[in-house]
Each structure stands twice: as C-alpha cells, then as structure tokens.
Amino acid sequence: MTLTELPIGKDARVVAVNGEGRVTRRLLEMGVIPGVSVQKIKMAPFGDPVEIRVRGYSLAMRRTESDAIEVSV
C-alpha cells in the first residue's frame, strides 16, 4: 500500500519510493529511503498535508508525495 493509505498512528516500513525526478530525489535525501521505518502521525484539518515521523523527526508532505511512497506494515 502507499503511505497515503496507511492509517493514522500506524508504523510501517518503506518499500519503495516511486517516480523519477526532483520530488523523489528530495524524499530520498530527506531520509525516506527503502527500509526505513515511518510512522504516520496526523492529517492537517483539511485532509492534506500529512505529518509523518521518520529518522526521529517530523516531516509534512502533500498527498502527491505520500502517494509515491510504498510501505508495508
């Protein structure tokens, strides 16, 4: 499943970061790489963006970014 589909509060492991180009590269550089564990913390009031915890810090991303991240629980 994608990170977008992961329920709030759940931990998961990143399987793949799909896509090419800037967004993907930036996600990887921020430490969201396959194998790393992430936790979905919360959604913003209007449903987007979403806050995740990765490598000990909090990262907010829009749905377009979280759609590209494949995770397994």
Binding site: R26, L27, E29, I33, G56, S58, A60, M61
Partner: protein, 674 residues
C-alpha cells in the same frame, strides 16, 4: 564587502540544515559585526561576519539553510557554488563548519557526507546535545569524530561553550583534504540512479549505531504534546486565527502610537527647519521634499519591527511550519504555499513588511506569486481614503434599517482586494510563474524557546535593510514628486491668465503659461501664491490636465487626476492633496468636516459637482486595486532583485484598477446612479 580578499585571508563557510542552530551559532561567533546583502543577480540572502580565529580575522559566511547540496533549489545551487569556489563574489572557503543537530543526527549528517566530496576540510559543530541528553540518549563524540574521520566539537551558542575549541579545530584543519569516509562504487549494478544517496544513509546508519546510545524509554516528547493542541483539527485552527489576530492587531493598531509619534516628530523637524531657515526653494525642498519624503518612509518602521518580532518568534519557536501545515490545503487551491498566509495577512496592515515576510517561502515562484498579490490586501494607508469618501457621501446611511452603508462598503472593498488577489495568483501560477508543483516537504521542527538575541538581530537587520534600500529609492521619488508639485513657480499674474485660458476652453495645459518668475514683468505683488493655485499651475497640475481625457470615463476631473498622481507616492497622500487643491489647508485629515464639505461642494469648470456618490465609489474601487505606493515598489525591487517585477506589478495593478473603476462608473451610470 570588497575587502574580503585583502584584509582577511581566511574564508570559512557555515553550513547546516534549517533549524540546526546555525543562525544562533553565527550570531554568537560574529557578534554584531555582520553584513547582509544578496548574492549578485539572485534573491538568496548573503550573510557574513568577522570571526577571530587563531589571532587572524576570518570572514565567516553563513550559507542558506540546506538539506542537500545537490542543487535542486536556488539556495542549494548558491551553497554548492560557494563551497566549490564557483561563486565569483566569494573566495573558495578554506574550511566548512557543518552545524549538526544532535537530536536529528541522521538527516543532518546526510548533508555532511555530501560536503566531504567537495574537497574542503569540514569541522562539525554539534548543537543541541543538552536537549539530546535530557531525552535520555547518549552520544560518544570521540567515536563520532573517528567514524566520520573529521573533528567534532560540541557547541552551545547560548553559553559560548565550545566556541574556542571550534576555532582551534578549524585552524588545525585548514590546508588539509578531507577523507570521504564511506565507499561507493559507481559500477554497482544494484545501485540505480540514487545509489549514492543509499550509500550515504547506509554509512550514516552505521556511524550512529556505533556512536549513539538511544534510550529505550520512549519519553513522550514535549513537542508531541504541544502539537496535540496546536495542530488539532479544530483547536489548532482556532489558535491560529487568534495568533493571526494578535499579529494583525499589533501592526494595525499598536503600531499606530509610535507611528503617530514619528509622524509628529518629522512634522516638528520640518516646522523647525522652516522657522529657522530663510524662506525659499532650498527650505521648501528640505521640508516638503526630503523631510516629508523620508518621514513618510521611516513612519513604517514600527510596523516592520513589530511584524518581524512576531515572525522571528513564530519561526524560531517552530510554530510557522505548523501554521503552514494547517493552512496549506487552503492556500494550495490558489497555487500558493501554506507559508504565504502570514505575509498576506500582514499586508492588510501594510504590504511592505508583508512582502519582506515572504522570505520564509523557499520556492522562488511561490514567493514571487505571493509578492505580486500582497498589495491587493487593503492596507492601512487606504483607510483614510475610504474614510473620506464614505464620510462625504455615504455617512449616516443604512440599508435594511440597521446595516451601515459605510461598513458595508468597507467590507466590499476588502473583499474585492481578496477576490482579485486569488484570481491573479491563480492566473500567475498558470502563466508567468508556471512550474510543476514544487515538492511540498516541510520539516516540522521541535518547538523551542526562541533565542532573544537572534530575534532582535533579525528585527534590526530587516529594519536596516528596509531603511537603506527602500530609503534611497523613496528619497529620490519624493524629491521628484515634490518638484512636480513645486515647479514651475508662478506669480499671481500668470495664474489669472491661466485660469482665463482654462475657461475659454482651449486645451487647458497649453493655456497654462507659467514662467518661472513672471516673464520679467514687474508685478504689483510678488507674494507667494496660495498653495492651491501653485499646485494647479505646477507640472503635477499640468499632468492632471494631461490625463483628464483618460480619467474622464471614470468620472474624475483634472483636479482629482492631480490628487491621483500625487497619491502614487503613497495612497494616503490623496487626502492631503485634496485638502490643498480645495484650499482647506493641508493639515486637514480624512475626518475633517471642512474637507468633507469642500469635497461635497467642489465643482468642475462647467459648474457641475465634481464628486457624486458614484465617483466616490469609483475612486474607492480604484484605490483597492491600483499600485500607489512607492515604498512598496522599492521593497519589491529589493526582494525580487529586479526592476521588471515592480514595474510589471505597477502596470498590471494600475491597469486592473482602471478597468474595474471604468466598469464601476460606466456600469453605475447605465444603472441610473449618479
């Protein structure tokens, strides 16, 4: 900063992730000896200061906050250029101080692994260790340095701990070549396009495993507790609105006391000069041109200082990212970043600090789109204009028995500005500033108590930049506008002839023969003219006549045209100019009954009222949309680092204002209003 190369032999770059404590360390190392400018041709801020190192003075360059050196953004491009020695205005650094946040070690070290590849020696300044240890974790600094094969110094910018050791370590590495401490084989078939990123993070994972002991006890972070309220779906929004209200209230009304004082201060300086100096052109230039012009700029200082106080507090505490998180969905609908919200809200008080506040938006296109629409927010300078128009033509009227027409019109004016801003932003983001949506990846940093010194330094820097850059341009424009209203000087005689020629119906501005001093004819009286007569015969008056054919369809006569021209200096100038034109004395304000009556009674040359409620409404609509503020233009020039953006802004806003005013007036007439 031309002396970089000559006087200081060392150039040290300070680099690190945003929120790693880089600014605090920079301030603590350089004290007040810092300079802020832009890198040539771009809007990336260049901050540098002197740092005494081993008896020598080094030039410490504060690079923009970075997550990576791979040049996906302008900041990263500039930073990697500097480290590589490709930025012409900066000598290649002799060493890099990498600021690393101990509480966020893995991601902070990623940037460091990239730095090793540039061949410049690196010293790591480890910050926030006290916080990290308080969380129950332990870090072995020697082990960390051994693993990274580069010196690591624990620093605490607030107490000054570690700064001496940092200087020693930096001195010792200068001239050495860093060792890239991890292996990466390009030919590895499994690595893919991002193999290097994986290799760096794998190395970092090992380093952290060797040198950090994480406490098992997952203490609930304070930040998480605060966030449960501050980014709560309901309370989060309520608190955000309350904070914005407070900011708005502060710059809107609390700033008015110091602003009034400044205004009065400049007024009395002007009066003093006027009283002490012999009457004449020089005195007039000094008083009405320079002192009034500069005063008109300096008066914005309290608003700028207060807004930047709030922005620094909100940024440094970590709240700004939360506000952007809460509002991003709303703002992204019009193609803007969540962080555009505060600059836009601030623009309701004054677009100048608002535009300066867009610096918090990283993406250039998002930032420029925000700058371009900020002046549509009805600022406090428009209020006197609205107040005068409403007072003169809509005062004391009600609809539905209880809704005051004045309040309704105010609401409409504010709404027009917002709606047009949204439309323009959407258009700009699809045309001129079109770009694939930038990746929205925003760190939500842990909440921290803002550092008072950083906050103050930021306020002072902003205020100084505003005074320095905007001040020069504004001074020049003030003098030009003053000259337009001052020249040519006319005597009593020529005024009569000009008025007669105006009445005969020839082209009015041809008829105004206003030589500098009465053609050498000896006049019975060389007394100075009443200000209103002088103004009518000035270049500004002629310009008013010249633009009359253009503004006629808006229902404006040439006198209003003249006031409009003057108001391009600053919107509220309309009120004082109208006072001069209608001869009620320029010290009348927008609530003055004399001025209100003068406006109501004003007649055009054919004896019809110069103003009707419809003209007043048209003027208000024009003021909502037109770019009439030289200070804003000067600030946009600085913030976009080009003249084309402010000129484009002035042109499109004024064109929009004209069209909207035309629709209002002609539409109103067609509907039978007067």
């Amino acid at each position: 900063m031309k002396d970089n190369g000559q006087n200081s032999h060392l150039t040290i770059a300070l680099a690190g992730n945003p929120n790693a404590g880089k600014t605090t360390l920079f301030n603590s190392l350089t004290g007040l000896k810092q300079k802020v400018a832009n890198y040539p041709g771009v809007t990336v801020e260049r901050k540098e200061g002197a740092w005494t190192l081993d008896g020598k003075t080094a030039n410490l360059i504060d690079l923009p906050g970075l997550y990576s050196l791979d040049a996906t953004s302008l900041d990263e491009q500039i930073a990697s250029d500097i480290i590589r020695g490709d930025q012409e205005s900066v000598p290649k650094p002799d060493a890099i101080i990498a600021v690393v946040d101990a509480t966020n070690l893995e991601r902070n070290l990623y940037l460091v692994t990239q730095m090793f590849e540039f061949g410049v020696p690196v010293v790591i300044a480890l910050t926030m260790i006290d916080v990290f240890e308080k969380q129950g974790h332990e870090i072995d600094i020697e082990m960390l340095a051994a693993q990274l094969k580069t010196p690591v110094v624990a620093v605490n910018a607030k107490s000054g701990r570690g700064t001496e050791e940092l200087a020693e370590k930096v001195s010792s590495v200068i001239g050495t070549t860093p060792v890239i401490p991890y292996e990466y084989k390009q030919e590895d078939p499994n690595s893919g396009p991002h193999g290097k990123i994986f290799a760096r993070y794998n190395f970092i994972a090992n380093v952290v495993q060797e040198s950090v002991w994480h406490s098992d006890h997952q203490s609930h972070r304070i930040t998480d507790k605060i966030d449960r309220v501050l980014t709560h779906k309901f309370f989060g929004l309520v608190i955000l609105v309350a904070i914005l209200l407070l900011v708005f209230q502060t710059i809107f009304s609390w700033a008015s006391l110091p602003m009034d004082l400044l205004e009065k201060g400049f007024g009395s300086v002007g009066d003093f000069v006027k009283a002490e100096m012999p009457p004449g052109m020089l005195t007039d230039l000094l008083v009405d041109g320079i002192i009034a012009g500069v005063g008109g700029v300096v008066v914005f200082l309290p608003q700028i200082l207060l807004l930047f106080l709030f922005i620094s507090l909100l940024e440094d505490s970590g709240y700004m990212a939360r506000a952007a998180f809460l509002l991003d969905k709303l703002m992204s609908r019009v193609g803007l970043h969540g962080k555009a919200f505060l600059p836009l809200i601030s623009s309701f008080a004054c677009a100048i600090p608002g535009i300066m506040a867009t610096r918090t938006i990283e993406s250039r296109r998002d930032r420029f789109a925000t700058i371009m629409i900020a002046p549509f927010m009805s600022c406090s300078a428009r209020l006197p204009v609205y107040t005068l128009m409403i007072g003169a033509f809509f005062g004391g009227k009600y609809v539905l028995g209880f809704v005051s027409v004045g309040a309704l019109l105010m609401l409409i004016m504010y709404s027009i500005g917002i709606v047009v801003a949204i439309i323009v932003a959407a258009i700009l983001k699809r045309t001129l500033l079109k770009a694939p949506p930038p990746p929205f990846l925003m760190e939500l940093p842990p909440y921290r108590l803002p550092n008072l010194r950083t906050v103050l330094q930021n306020m002072i820097t902003r205020a100084w930049l505003f005074l320095k850059r905007a001040g020069t341009v504004i001074l020049a424009i003030s003098i030009i506008l003053w000259a337009l209203m001052y020249f040519p000087r006319s005597s009593q005689e020529s005024v009569v002839s000009s008025q007669q020629s105006t009445r005969t119906g020839s082209l009015p501005y041809e008829g105004v023969v206003a030589p500098f001093s009465g053609n050498g004819v000896v006049h019975s009286s060389e007394l100075p003219l009443p200000e209103s007569e002088q103004l009518k015969n000035s270049f500004a008056g002629k310009l008013g006549h010249a633009i009359e054919p253009v503004i006629r369809p808006l229902g404006f006569d040439w006198k209003i045209g003249m006031a409009l021209i003057a108001s391009f200096a600053a919107r509220e100038v309309l009120v004082s100019t109208l006072s001069i034109i209608y001869n009620v004395g320029k010290d009348e304000n927008e609530e003055s009954q004399t001025l209100i009556e003068a406006v109501r009674d004003a007649r055009t040359e054919d004896g019809k009222p110069a103003w009707t409620p419809l003209t007043a409404l048209t003027l208000m609509v024009f003021f909502v949309l037109a770019m009439q503020c030289m200070s804003t233009i000067a600030v946009v020039r600085r913030e976009t680092n080009s003249w084309s953006w402010p000129l484009f802004m002035t042109a499109y806003m004024t064109a929009l204002a004209y069209v909207a005013a035309l629709i209002t007036y002609q539409g109103g007439k067609a509907l039978g209003f007067e």
